[in-house]
Amino acid sequence: MSLADMDRGTLWLVILGLALGSFALRFAFLGVIGNRPLPEWVLRHLRYTAVAVLPALVAPLVLWPGATGGETDPARLAAAFATIAVGYFTRNVLAAIGAGAATLWALLYLLG
């Protein structure tokens, strides 16, 4: 369905609902807990939030990219591994992004 034909009230309901819902998710802990000390076991889990959630978000996108209809793509896979390798050894975010992007575009061009 083209969204041009969609009921405008419904569309704005989605936009506003998403805006309020997203803010509630982001404000949940920061706003409510604030300065109160968290128990040690909670802090221990929170220390691993970033290194758990971001790879979990990325892993399916690397193996089954939406752009190829979920088909594993050698160029994207190699680009991911180049990013990981350069990032791990240099600990430099920009060098890792550069290596990943260069690998991706070089392989897409070569495998064309």
Partner: protein, 238 residues
Amino acid sequence: MSSSTPKSAYWEGFRAGAPFVLVVAPFAILFGVVATEAGLTVAETLAFSVAVIAGAAQFTAVQLMTENAPTAIVLASALAVNLRMAMYSASLTPWIGSAPLWQRAFAAYFLVDQPYACSVLRYETGPPMTPAQRMAFFFGVVTPVCPTWYLFTWVGAVVGSRIPPEWALDFVVPIAFLALVMPMLRTAAHVIAAAVAIVMALLSAGLPYNLGLLVGGIAGMMAGARVELWARSQRRRT
């Protein structure tokens, strides 16, 4: 770092966030193009980006609306994609939770992937900061990242022309996230947390509403916490 002020922390954050303009801009253009091609006006597309600022959730909502999904399902699925933001919120609380409520409310609105990851990386691995400096750093990262999201959504919506799929702009985001995570893998516990999260996310990728992300994330956090406890007990024994 005695000479360090909130102002210098702000500019340090700005410099850390600036390169991500190159990642956020193509993704924002992509959303602008996809949303207008799906039938939204330029104003509606821009409203989406300003109100929600969450690329993955915005793509999910537009996709489901074109599939005629009921409004409740559209909202539930897009918010499920955004559930990770609640984990970010919890993760940042020990660092910036002592700031005034109005600052925390602004920080919550701008709490998206890149400012979160840049800030945690800085707080954990850099020289210590005061709470005011931490907040200033966070808003420093936000300054180049979030306006870029608005501006280039608009550019994509106005230009409207199809971006050649050969450019593979879809993959800019995974590369950026991987690059942000690698310097955070400082201990065995961090590496195992990431490995468990990846395996569990892949195994549960078939779950509806993007729940695989939550399963992977929570499993990874539990694995990291377990290994940390185990490593500490080993040290105590020797």
